[in-house]
Symmetry: C2
């Protein structure tokens, strides 16, 4: 059985949990508290030198890090990865965009406001603007579509929904992005996601 080291406040960790649940892959979940720096202990760093969750340990004891690398590994040969080469490439495009332009803006603002207690008015306006731009880009992409790539749920939806559904924590209003708002509910229902927002 695989072991997932994760923090339940982290969308990156929840992605891994949802993917395993969706694919009926049994796992043991071990809580690692990021705020208490439990990712910085010697034991944890031996497993993942980058000191980040999620980290998983495979049945044979080998570790694997980076949320999107983990869900790609768990979902190999499943319907969560499109069979068509171009759709697969578009899925990868979304996965890398998520880690470069979405998580570092939307998740960071949420963390500052909800977990570090920074007043929303003190969040760097340039950072907040980049987060709004990411939501606007998704809203245009999702207009008239059910899912981000092709006609069904893929890893792109799982990776992007993780922090998008927490956007309100950072003071973003999904009502401003109606296609995103409808898509979040659709993905939550489809997976299904039982974790509270």
């Amino acid at each position: 059985m695989i072991t997932i080291y994760g923090d339940r406040i982290s969308g990156n960790c929840l992605k891994v949990k949802w993917t395993a649940e969706r694919l009926a892959i049994p796992f043991t979940w071990i809580d690692v508290n990021v705020v208490n720096r439990e990712t910085r202990t010697e034991t944890f760093l031996a497993m993942n030198p980058a000191g980040q969750v999620p980290t998983i340990v495979l049945e044979d004891g080998r570790p694997l890090a980076q949320s999107n690398a983990i869900i790609l590994h768990l979902a190999e040969r499943s319907a969560l990865i499109p069979a068509d080469a171009y759709e697969r490439a578009k899925m990868f495009e979304w996965l890398f965009w998520e880690q470069y332009s979405h998580e570092p803006t939307i998740a960071v603002v949420r963390f500052q406001v909800k977990y570090l207690g920074k007043p929303r008015s003190e969040v760097d306006p340039a950072l907040a603007a980049r987060a709004e731009a990411a939501l606007a880009l998704m809203d245009r992409a999702l207009s008239g579509r059910q899912f981000l790539v092709g006609a069904q749920l893929t890893l792109a939806d799982i990776a992007l929904v993780a922090y998008t559904r927490f956007a309100a924590d950072g003071g973003f209003d999904l009502a401003d992005y109606p296609a995103v708002d409808a898509w979040v509910r659709r993905v939550e229902h489809e997976l299904p996601i039982r974790d509270p927002r």
Copy 2:
């Protein structure tokens, strides 16, 4: 033939060029100047709404963005992607780490110093420290190894060498990271990379 829209000062764009060259995939290169905001024109945004290079257009006219998504697409079924499932997962781990922890630090400092003319002493010390930490992590990982994953060159090496070889532009000294320094020369020789540092 595919068309690559890229800027030769961008490691992200050079990754795509090197991968195509290594795999003998013919391409047309179209220069797009990032500093002059040529990625923000209506024509460019129609191709890539994120307004970023590299963007490629496939033979059938369909566009694809995100450097690592592009090189994955070009390299499908080639030796640049490990056949072993765990090695493939580790390659993905490096690709996502590159976009999250390496490019946003090392490439950003380089851009500020070399292209925006900011004195090195005025670079955010926290940003510079994260860049040094990224180089230190690579140095430990490469100690005693020829390549990042397995025994031969993979996309992980191509993606990571892109901005690592430009580290001196941002005031980082690869002599402090001897395993990284030797690996940069090895990858440059292996690909081979003919672009100037």
